[in-house]
């Protein structure tokens, strides 16, 4: 694991007093959130279900308009920038992207070049190079002519990541990129994401251990607010796990990487109601 620079890192992408909701009338899902995404690092957002982590990511990628506050790219509000300009700086892979029937791998990956192309410039040397590199890096070159819907889940996810990489953006946002994958493919995808030189990555993960292992910068959310942020080794503690997930756990060093490893407390018989009530008011 490469040591992340500590101290005040620069941040191209920031959120200021961000308030988000899907429905005007409803209680906001995210309320007054401030966030700076450190450049060149892997930021991972974790938190229990429905804590607003995916919603935050969608707002960072201008898929969701803020109800209050703003997301800033290089100091400019996203909502004032042309979407094409944003697409040249920020790539985003949604949680469950869908490919058109029968599209081939190379065809799909090449569509990542969309923001760099024009009606009369449909394929350039730069497009060729970016797509070749993206497919090499994600190891899907051999699958280039296969139909995407014939692939396994792990292969398909690599193809989608390749498409996002071909977009050649400095910032890459990934919404639960390991969902639906078995453990080997999860590790494969995370290793891939971890070793993207020069890119700033923001990923939402639901597995705290994976987050602690792969993040330079960890952001823990609960009920639409940030509870803790910082390097995983500094912030992942038994208290944080209890506070954020409501889980009694032991935090020990990961035997392989030394990053914090969360081990849930010994399973008990169906919980005594009194004990549970005492813990979660």
């Amino acid at each position: 694991m490469s040591p992340a620079e500590t101290g005040p890192a620069t941040a191209r992408l920031t959120a200021r007093a961000l308030t988000l909701s899907y429905d005007e009338a409803a209680r906001p899902i995210v309320d007054g959130l401030d966030l700076a995404v450190p450049d060149g690092q892997v930021t991972v957002i974790v938190g229990p279900n429905a804590c607003g982590k995916s919603t935050t990511l969608r707002a960072l990628g201008r898929l969701l308009k803020p109800r209050g506050g703003a997301v800033l790219l290089d100091g400019q509000e996203l909502s004032t920038l042309p979407t094409r300009r944003i697409a040249q700086a920020i790539g985003l892979l949604p949680q469950s992207p869908t490919a058109p029937e029968a599209i081939t791998v190379a065809d799909l990956v090449s569509r990542g070049r969309q923001p760099h192309q024009r009606w009369w410039q449909q394929w350039s040397e730069a497009d060729e190079r970016a797509v070749t590199e993206a497919m090499d890096r994600t190891d899907v070159t051999a699958l280039a002519d296969r139909a995407v819907d014939e692939l396994s889940g792990g292969q398909r996810q690599r193809v989608w990541i390749a498409m996002a990489l071909a977009q050649e953006t400095d910032l890459l946002l990934l919404d639960e990129p390991t969902t639906y994958l078995d453990i080997a493919h999860q590790v494969e995808v995370l290793n891939l994401v971890r070793h993207l030189p020069g890119r700033t990555v923001v990923a939402v993960l639901h597995d705290l251990n994976q987050a602690a292992r792969y993040a330079d910068h960890l952001v823990a959310m609960k009920d639409g607010r940030i509870v803790a942020r910082g390097r995983p080794g500094e912030i992942v503690t038994a208290e944080l796990v209890r506070d954020v997930f409501g889980l009694d756990a032991l935090v020990v060093p990961d035997p392989v990487t030394g990053s914090p490893l969360v081990v849930p407390a010994a399973p008990t018989a169906p919980t005594l109601p009194s004990a549970r009530e005492a813990r979660t008011p």
């Binding site: 969608r58 990628g61 201008r62 898929l63 042309p82 979407t83 094409r84 300009r85 944003i86 697409a87 040249q88 920020i90 790539g91 985003l92 892979l93 949604p94 992207p97 869908t98 490919a99 058109p100 029937e101 029968a102 599209i103 081939t104 190379a106 065809d107 799909l108 990956v109 090449s110 569509r111 990542g112 969309q114 923001p115 009606w119 009369w120 410039q121 449909q122 394929w123 350039s124 497009d127 060729e128 190079r129 797509v131 070749t132 497919m135 070159t141 280039a144 002519d145 996002a164 977009q167």
Partner: protein, 358 residues
């Protein structure tokens, strides 16, 4: 202009297989090779259909005489081909091509093969307004395009209005569209029964989508309108590439999805309404043509050029069959296309999974 062939390509090329590249200075275009081949085959089929349309009928004309008449050379068949058949064929060609492209665009926007202008009420809107105007005595050919376009756009706006719930869900869009289509059909029926006998009869023939007694009067305004829409169609061919992806991915790729879809749908509705104004609702061509074309080209999106050609082949063939099948009794081309299209529609509904993509 150079077209790079796969043989001289380096072994690991990233450009999606099956695409040829045309490059000229800073401009470059990706061309789907298989779609090119399919277009040529469809063009050949279309030529055969056109020749059949000129030669077959009450009096059979030899192909060479028919071609001489078309190119303005002295021929035995100047009247039959030049006056009776060629104008009608021209109209059928234009109507078919317009319907093919219209179907492709609307199916692409709705991401649903069921969402064709003749299923979701666009052509019914065009028909309702046209028939209403006819019963009030407005029957001039020049007014038809305006009437049908008004009707088509109004119907599309209605569908959009009712289907919109902070987003456009493909399944709801189609269901609402079918509902609107039924409602508009009854409006048309109401005016048919209210109106004058003679006009009602005229309107009824128009309603089935017939090329009988039609020709350059209808073809000319349609041709101009199609020519005016050509740049929009060229734009649409490119814009479609991103729209076939899901909304989030397309937006992340910098596509202004709302505007793009509105643009694609508008072009589609205009084409369908113009075609309907010129020949009445020739049912199911817009539904069938894009899907036939896509199954042949195996492209990820609906191929517009091939959809236009497939639409033209279907319409011209339908008109030939309509004229000759039960001669001397003439059917409407719309009846023939419906005979093919209705079973296909049923099959689509039975096999289609909800929320699927076009």
């Amino acid at each position: 202009m150079t077209v790079t062939e796969p043989r001289d390509a380096p072994p690991r090329r990233a450009r999606p297989a099956g695409y040829g590249l045309a490059r000229r200075r800073r401009a470059s275009f990706l061309l789907h090779r298989r779609a090119g081949v399919v277009a040529l085959i469809l063009l050949a089929l279309l030529s055969c259909a056109c020749l059949a349309a000129l030669c077959l009928g009450e009096t059979t004309v030899a192909p060479d005489q028919a071609l001489r008449a078309v190119f303005g050379r002295p021929s035995d068949a100047e009247f039959v081909v030049g006056v009776l058949r060629l104008p009608r064929l021209t109209l059928a060609l234009l109507v078919g091509a317009a319907l093919g492209v219209a179907g492709a665009l609307i199916q692409a926007v709705a991401r649903n093969p069921l969402a064709s202008p003749d299923v979701i009420g666009v052509t019914h809107g065009a028909a309702a307004v046209t028939v209403t105007a006819m019963t009030y005595g407005l029957t001039s050919a020049a007014a038809l395009p305006y009437l049908s376009v008004t009707g088509g756009l109004a119907a599309a706006a209605l569908v959009y209005l009712f289907a919109w719930r902070g987003g456009l869900h493909a399944g709801r869009f189609v269901l609402i569209g079918i509902g609107i289509a039924v409602a508009l059909r009854s409006v048309t029926q109401l005016f048919l029964t209210k109106g004058d006998h003679q006009i009602a009869q005229q309107a009824t023939v128009w309603m089935t989508g017939s090329f009988n007694g039609r020709g350059y009067d209808q073809a000319q305004p349609l041709a101009w309108a199609l020519l005016a829409l050509l740049p929009a169609v060229l734009w649409a061919a490119r814009a479609q590439r991103a729209v076939v992806l899901d909304d989030d991915t397309a937006t992340a790729l910098g596509v202004r999805l709302g505007r793009t879809r509105l643009g694609l749908a508008t072009v589609g509705v205009l084409l369908a309404a113009l075609a309907t104004g010129a020949a009445g609702p020739v049912d199911f061509v817009a539904l069938l043509a894009p899907q036939i074309a896509r199954r042949l080209t195996r492209t990820a999106q609906l191929p517009l050029l091939c959809s236009a050609l497939a639409g033209a082949v279907l319409t011209v063939t339908a008109d030939v069959l309509a004229r000759t099948l039960f001669a001397p009794t003439e059917l409407a081309a719309g009846v023939v296309t419906a005979a093919v299209g209705a079973p296909y529609l049923l099959w689509l509904i039975v096999t289609h999974r909800t929320g699927g993509r076009a």
